[in-house]
């Protein structure tokens, strides 16, 4: 019965190994989530702009090129807001700083929280779009029927690839759930202790990364 004993040992070994692979692959599926985020934030290929404020780079404006920057705003079910932009598109030189006003309107009579999530197309332009100030770095709170205008300040890096002539920036509004709202509120309160200027979006840059994290991780 030697060979049978051998087969039994072999079966056990095979089973242990396959189960190890199984567990490894299950872990791999979850490991892909942070890996994907890291990969995308390095390459920018999912069009997600780095949600932290950039400082202005004072470089010479490249006046030989005009880049057409388009803005698209989208609402989403569950949030009775309207988002509009002062102009649908503008032409800028690489290196030039530009500002455009976005207006949020709460069409309902109750207060609510929302967040505008950006996406850049073509994705190769993502890492060359530097946002100096953006409402998308944090959630917005609107009282009933409130209307709020916030500027977006951005700069296109001079090393923008030559083949890009048009950049489209899409903002999609998402409602912020109650749970997240509280976490974000906590964070806001904490940071407002350090920063009195919380209501001024441009000066609010130092604490925005933290707030922004809260939206992603409070859950």
């Amino acid at each position: 019965m030697d060979s049978q004993e051998q087969a039994r040992v072999g079966v056990r070994r095979t089973v242990i190994r396959t189960i190890a692979v199984l567990i490894g692959m299950f872990g791999f599926a979850f490991a892909l989530v942070p890996l994907y985020d890291v990969f995308c934030s390095i390459t920018g290929i999912n069009g997600k702009v780095d949600a932290t404020a950039k400082s202005v780079v004072h470089e010479e404006v490249d006046e030989s090129r005009y880049i057409n920057v388009q803005f698209i705003t989208r609402g989403s079910p569950g949030l009775p807001w309207q988002m509009s932009v002062e102009m649908r598109q503008m032409s800028v030189h690489p290196g030039q700083m530009a500002e455009v006003d976005f207006t949020f309107t709460n069409n309902s009579s109750s207060e609510s929280w929302g967040r505008a999530v950006p996406s850049v197309s073509p994705s190769t332009a993502t890492t060359h779009l530097r946002k100096i100030s953006c409402f998308c770095f944090q959630e917005q709170q609107l009282q009933g029927n409130e209307r709020l205008t916030i500027p977006l300040v951005f700069q296109l890096a001079r090393d923008l690839p030559d083949d890009i002539n048009t950049i489209t920036l899409v903002y999609t509004l998402y409602p912020i759930e109650h749970v997240i709202q509280n976490a974000a509120l906590d964070n806001t309160l904490k940071s407002s202790a350090n920063n009195e200027l919380i209501n001024d979006p441009i000066n609010n840059l130092s604490n925005t990364p933290k707030n922004n994290k809260a939206a992603g991780e409070a859950i």
Partner: protein, 544 residues
């Protein structure tokens, strides 16, 4: 797991029953339903898998006919669009996870121990468990159709956020059902790997194994590698739906495109899981009826392994239009086209096996030949879809539907039917009624082509998939497809009739039921007794 566990009585019992069964007689099997609930015999479990799969094939087929009936003419006639979406989704899920995969597992259960000279599968009780998970899973899945809000309606690919934010409440049950089906597949795969690697007849090397065993070994590795990824994806969905996470929700920092990456990292190897065993079946049948050994055995093995490896590098060709960077489009386009090379090797080998063979056209051979021709057509339309710029046009049109139905229906399903007709004499001891089988074949081949060929044209003309209504210019193509679908569906009743008649009687089959058949399964009597190869057979190397 500790290496030196004291031997556990039940484990010991089951393994000795497997290992030294020749020394004592087998206890009489329990009667009635318990015989099937408790069986650990690979042949009985194989039959259960096949019967289950056939049942699911008809349920999924009825869903497809609801879809085709609605698409018979433009406009909304029979069902609500919401229900239409549930039908397309359920048709896909049932056919993939309930019909094709269990059918191959059933054939593996029946034939792998017989082909390698093993007395049973390595883990017989696990085998029983992995089968009985399936009825549980699919009862749960089908029951979602009766729940408030209906069943899954987001397509078999269940893309987030359709399957998370906008999904019916029953989605949690869908996730559980898929988890159970996944566990069943995983356990089946472990069992198959353990059997093939450890229980071959003395003297049988890996490169002596029949190709059906080889293709299943590779398929089982694919299952082990990707089913956990599917489990991971649906677990993330579950958490997004019920526990407030944001894996796939942009509002919370997630990304819906990540879902597609994860899904297709599972999904593309999955489509090879559904076709590799078919290659194995066809590689057994063609040499038998051409009365020549298979041409290029080793290259068949390497081609199968190459296809399996490449399947991990091509997933994003399903996502050419999500906005991949150019370099990724090129990479996935070329790596996808590379798969045509090993697949071409296979088709070449089959054709060369036929060359100057002494061919006869019994029903298994007819289905196998139809497989080679029609699967190749499906492969070519796949190559067209692999061209990224062309795919921008074809994506989510009926051209895609035509493509994957050509590789799955006259591909996987025809191979399964070929296998059933080929091995029925071994299972039942009777030849299937050849006349009936031939009618079944010719009706099927007309039905399949009438159903799916016009879909190519509808797709190229721009008809999108997964819609209950369509523009008038697609009416003629859809009319033909619908007629073909009902014709094909009805002709499958001939298959059921043929199988039932064959079980009940028919021309007696000898041990070697087909003149040119060479593998070990043809050395045991027909019908194969419940217990075979209790003493390992002497394996004589043939001329691979």
């Amino acid at each position: 797991m500790a290496p030196k566990l004291p031997p556990q009585p039940p484990l010991q019992h089951s393994t000795t029953a497997v290992a030294d069964g020749q020394s004592h007689g087998h206890a009489a099997p329990p009667k009635g339903i318990f015989r099937w609930l408790l069986t650990t015999n690979h042949k009985e479990i194989g039959s259960l898998y096949l019967i289950f799969s056939l049942t699911m094939f008809f349920i999924g087929g009825i869903f497809a006919l609801v879809v085709r009936a609605e698409l018979f003419q433009p406009g909304l006639q029979l069902v609500e669009p919401e229900f239409f979406n549930q039908m397309t989704t359920m048709h896909g899920l049932i056919m993939v996870f309930g019909a094709v995969m269990p059918a191959f597992t059933g054939l593996a259960n029946w034939m792998i121990p017989l082909q390698i000279g093993a007395p049973d599968m390595a883990l017989p009780r696990l085998n029983n468990f992995s089968f009985w998970l399936l009825p549980v899973s699919f009862t749960l899945l089908l029951s979602t159709l009766l729940m408030p809000g209906g069943g899954p309606n987001f397509g078999w690919t269940f893309y987030a956020p359709l399957s998370t934010n906008f999904a019916p409440p029953s989605t949690t049950f869908f996730i559980l059902a898929l988890h159970i089906a996944g566990i069943s597949s995983i356990l089946g795969a472990i069992n198959i790997i353990a059997t093939i690697l450890n229980m071959r007849a003395p003297g049988m090397r890996l490169m002596d194994m029949p190709l059906f065993v080889w293709t299943w070994l590779i398929t089982a590795f694919l299952l082990i590698a990707v089913m956990p990824v599917l489990a991971g994806v649906i677990t993330m969905m579950l958490m997004d739906i019920n526990f407030g996470t944001s894996f796939f929700d942009a509002a919370g920092g997630g990304d819906p495109v990540l879902f597609q990456h994860l899904f297709w990292f599972f999904g593309h190897p999955e489509v090879y899981i559904m076709i590799l065993p078919a290659f194995g079946i066809v590689s057994a049948i063609i040499p038998t009826f051409a009365r020549k050994p298979l041409f290029g055995y080793a290259s068949m093995v390497y081609a199968t392994a190459a296809i399996a490896l490449l399947s991990f590098l091509v997933w994003a060709h399903h996502m050419f239009i999500v906005g991949l960077p150019l370099v990724a489009e090129l990479f996935f386009m070329y790596s996808t086209m590379l798969i045509a090379v090993p697949t071409g090797v296979k088709v070449f080998n089959w054709v060369t096996t036929l060359f100057r063979g002494s061919i006869s056209f019994e029903s298994p051979m007819l289905f196998a030949l139809a497989f080679v021709v029609l699967f190749t057509i499906g492969g070519f339309s796949g190559l067209m879809l692999a061209i990224a710029p062309a795919d921008f046009q074809y994506h989510d049109t009926y051209f895609v539907v035509a493509h994957f139905h050509y590789v799955l229906v006259p591909g996987a399903i025809f191979a399964i039917m070929a296998g059933v007709y080929y091995w029925l004499p071994k299972w039942t001891g009777h030849y299937p009624n050849e006349k009936l089988a031939q009618w079944h074949f010719w009706f099927s081949i007309i039905g399949v082509n009438l159903t799916f060929f016009p879909m190519h044209f509808a797709g190229l003309a721009g008809m999108p998939r997964r819609i209950p209504d369509y523009a008038l210019q697609f009416a003629d193509f859809n009319l033909l497809s619908s007629i073909g679908a009902f014709f094909f569906g009805a002709s499958q009743l001939l298959f059921v009739l043929g199988v039932i008649l064959c079980v009940r009687g028919g021309k007696k089959a000898p041990a070697k039921a087909w003149e040119g058949a060479e593998d070990l399964e043809w050395t045991v009597p027909s019908p194969a007794p419940l217990h075979t190869f209790e003493t390992p057979p002497v394996f004589h190397r043939t001329s691979h």
